[in-house]
C-alpha cells in the first residue's frame, strides 16, 4: 500500500507546489502507516528528484520517455494509473494546477476512484470513512466530502499547505512505461510562456488592480510594485472584460481563484464575485478611495485614499525597506 504523489516540473525544475504535495502526501501516508511514493514525468535530474527525500518521499518513479516530453493528457493518465496500480496506491495526490485539472479526473476515472479537487485540509481517516474539506460555491462555503471508493484522488491548491522538511532519503527508480498509440490523440504544437512574469496561480504575492485605475495606460505602477515584490499581477473582471488586461489575470468567481500569502487590491471595490476568488489569501491589503468599499470588510490592512497618490508612496516605502 502507498500514497502516490504526481510531481510537476517546469523545464526540469521541481515546482514549489511539488514539495507541498509531497508533505501533504506524507501526512496521509503516516496516518495510513504506509510509504510515500512520487512519480515524475519529464526530464528531471536525479539530483533534483532526490530533494523530495527531504519531504518524506521514500521512492521516486522517474519517467524520462521522449514521447512524454510534452504533456499528452491521455498518455500521462495511463502512465500514472499504471504506476498507481503497481505501487498499490490507496491515495493519489496532485497539485491543482492547470495540467492536473485535465489529468486527475482521467486517472480517477480509470481507477473508479472518488475524486476531490481543491482540497484545503488533511483528510480525516478512520476505519470506515475518509473525509476531506474543500471549498465550494466559489469560496463562499466549505464542504466536507466523504470518498467512498477504495482508491481516492485528491488535488490540493498551490500555497494551501506548507512544505515540511524531514530527515529522509528518496530512492530514484527509472521506469520505462508501456505506451499505446491510442493515448496520443493530442499533440502540443507550441508552448508560449510569458517569461518575464510570475505565474499567477503559484504566486506568493499578488498585486491586483481594478477600474479605479481608470485605464490600461496606468498599469505601469502596478507592474513596478509587482516587480519590486516579485509578485504576480492580477485584475478584476470589469478590467479584463474591457480588454485592459488579459483574461488570464482575472481573479474572482468566474476567473482564477487564488490563495497567496499577500494580496494587495488597488482600486477594486470588492464585489462578492471578486471576493470569492481571493478571500482565502492569507493577508489582504486594500487601497481604495471609497471608505465604504465592501473590500475593507475582508481586508487585514486598508488605506483610504487615491491609488495614484498611494501606490507611488508604497513603492518608495518598500524600496526604502528593501534597502535596509
Amino acid at each position: 500500500m502507498s500514497v502516490l504523489i504526481y510531481i510537476e516540473n517546469t523545464d526540469g525544475v521541481l515546482k514549489k507546489s511539488a514539495f507541498e504535495a509531497a508533505s501533504y502526501g506524507k501526512e496521509i501516508a503516516d496516518s495510513l502507516q504506509c510509504d510515500t511514493v512520487a512519480v515524475s514525468i519529464g526530464n528531471v535530474t536525479t539530483h533534483e528528484l532526490e530533494k523530495l527525500g527531504n519531504y518524506g518521499v521514500k521512492k521516486v518513479i522517474n519517467i524520462t520517455n521522449d514521447d512524454l516530453k510534452t504533456f499528452v493528457n491521455q498518455a500521462y493518465a495511463a502512465v500514472i494509473t499504471d504506476v498507481a496500480t503497481k505501487e498499490n496506491a490507496q491515495v493519489i495526490i496532485f497539485t491543482n494546477s492547470f495540467t492536473a485539472k485535465g489529468l486527475a479526473p482521467r486517472v480517477a476515472s480509470k481507477l473508479k476512484a472518488g475524486f476531490v479537487s481543491g482540497a484545503i485540509s488533511i483528510p480525516v481517516i478512520t476505519e470506515n470513512s475518509f473525509q476531506v474539506k474543500r471549498t465550494a460555491f466559489s469560496n463562499k462555503a466549505i464542504a466536507t466530502v466523504s470518498i467512498q471508493s477504495d482508491i481516492k484522488v485528491i488535488t490540493i491548491n498551490p500555497n494551501a499547505f506548507a512544505a515540511k522538511e524531514v530527515e529522509g532519503h528518496a530512492e530514484i527508480v527509472n521506469f520505462e512505461p508501456s505506451l499505446e498509440s491510442k493515448d496520443f490523440g493530442t499533440m502540443v504544437k507550441e508552448i508560449i510562456r510569458n517569461t518575464d512574469k510570475i505565474s499567477l496561480p503559484d504566486a506568493e504575492i499578488v498585486i491586483s488592480a481594478g477600474r479605479g485605475l481608470k485605464g490600461p495606460e496606468n498599469w505601469g505602477m502596478i507592474e513596478e510594485l509587482a516587480q519590486l515584490l516579485e509578485a504576480a499581477t492580477a485584475c478584476s473582471k470589469p478590467v479584463s472584460d474591457a480588454g485592459w488586461r488579459p483574461h488570464s489575470e482575472h481573479v474572482g468567481q468566474t476567473g482564477i481563484v487564488i490563495s497567496p500569502n499577500l494580496y494587495i487590491a488597488i482600486g477594486i471595490s470588492g464585489a462578492i464575485q471578486h471576493l470569492a476568488g481571493v478571500s482565502s489569501s492569507k493577508t489582504i491589503v486594500v487601497i481604495n478611495k471609497d471608505p465604504e468599499a465592501p473590500f475593507f470588510k475582508v481586508a487585514d490592512y486598508g488605506i483610504v485614499g487615491d491609488a495614484f497618490v498611494i501606490v507611488p508612496k508604497l513603492i518608495a516605502a518598500i524600496k526604502a525597506h528593501q534597502g535596509n
Binding site: F71, F98, K101, G102, L103, P105, R106, A108, S109, K110, K112, A113, G114, F115, V116, S117, Q131, T135, A136, F137, S138, N139, A141, A143, T144, V145, S146, I147, Q148, S149, T186, V188, K189, E190, I191, I192, I198, H247, S248, H250, T254, V257, L262, I272, S279, S280, K282, T283, K297, D300, Y301, G302, I303, V304, V309, I310, K313, A316, A317, H321
Partner: protein, 246 residues
C-alpha cells in the same frame, strides 16, 4: 458539426450562500438560477462553430430535476437546437459523467463542450471524466478553439502562458474565459425556444463515489487595520514584522 454542450443549473453569482437540513443541503429559498457562466461560454462557442446552427446542430444536456428546465429553455433561446434533461439529482461528478456518457456514447458527437467548472461545486471534473469514459481526448481550461475540417486547434491555459494543442475530432473541451463572447437571447430566440424539443430521459443506475457530508461558512476574517496615507512606512513595517509576508 454535431455538438453536445453540457449545462449546469447554478445559483446566480450574487446569491447569498446558506444551507439547510443541519447544513447538509444548499438553501435554494429565493435563489435565482442561471446557466453556469462557463457553460454559457461553451454554448456561445458552439453557436460560433456551427454558424448559428447553419453548419450543424447543438444539443444541450443537463442532469437535474424539472426545476432545471427554465435553464435549458434559456439555452434553447440563446441558440441550441434541442435539449435533453436526464431526470435525476446530480449526485456527484462521476454520477453525472456516467449519465451523459450513457446518452452520448452512440450519437457520434464531433465535439462535447463543458464549462471548465461549475460555480457551485467547482469540481472541474466533467471534461476529463467524459473524455476517459468515452475514450477520446479531453482538454480542460480551454481559452481558444478553432475547428477546420476534422482538426481542432486548442489553446490551453498553463501557469504563466499557454499551450497550443492539435487533435482530431471528437474531443471534449472544458471551456474557460476567452473561448467566446457570451451570447444573449433575442426576442426571436425566446419565442422559438418554446417549441424546440426538450426530451426527458430516465437516469441509469450508477453509484456515486463521493458524498457531501456537511457545509460550513468560510472562516470569518478579522477586522481591518486602517492606516493613514501619510504613514505608509507603518504598513510596510506591519507587513514585514506582524504579517511576515514581505
Amino acid at each position: 458539426m454535431k455538438i453536445l454542450v453540457c449545462i449546469s443549473n447554478v445559483p446566480d453569482t450574487t446569491s447569498k450562500i446558506t444551507f439547510t437540513d443541519n447544513n447538509t443541503a444548499f438553501n435554494n429559498q429565493g435563489v435565482q438560477y442561471i446557466i453556469n457562466p462557463y457553460d454559457e461560454l461553451a454554448l456561445s462557442k458552439a453557436i460560433d462553430l456551427t454558424n448559428s446552427g447553419a453548419n450543424g446542430s447543438i444539443t444541450v444536456i443537463t442532469v437535474g430535476d424539472s426545476s432545471t428546465e427554465a435553464t435549458l429553455r434559456k439555452a434553447l433561446a440563446i441558440g441550441a437546437d434541442n435539449a435533453v434533461r436526464i431526470d435525476s439529482r446530480p449526485l456527484d461528478a462521476w454520477y453525472v459523467a456516467n449519465q451523459i456518457v450513457e446518452y452520448a456514447k452512440d450519437k457520434n458527437f464531433d465535439l462535447i463542450l463543458t464549462g471548465r467548472e461549475s460555480i457551485d461545486y467547482n469540481g472541474g471534473q466533467l471534461a476529463g471524466l467524459l473524455g476517459d469514459l468515452l475514450q477520446i481526448p479531453s482538454v480542460s481550461i480551454v481559452k481558444g478553439l478553432n475547428v477546420i475540417n476534422n482538426e481542432a486547434t486548442i489553446e490551453r491555459e498553463i501557469e504563466g502562458g499557454k499551450e497550443i494543442i492539435v487533435t482530431q475530432l471528437p474531443v471534449v473541451i472544458g471551456a474557460a474565459e476567452g473561448i467566446a463572447e457570451p451570447k444573449i437571447a433575442n426576442m426571436r430566440g425566446i419565442m422559438g425556444a418554446r417549441t424546440k424539443p426538450l426530451d426527458i430521459i430516465a437516469s441509469t443506475m450508477v453509484d456515486p463515489l463521493t458524498t457531501i457530508v456537511t457545509y460550513e461558512a468560510p472562516p470569518v476574517r478579522g477586522t481591518v487595520t486602517l492606516i493613514e496615507e501619510d504613514n505608509i512606512d507603518e504598513l510596510v513595517s506591519l507587513l514585514h514584522h506582524r504579517a511576515k509576508v514581505i
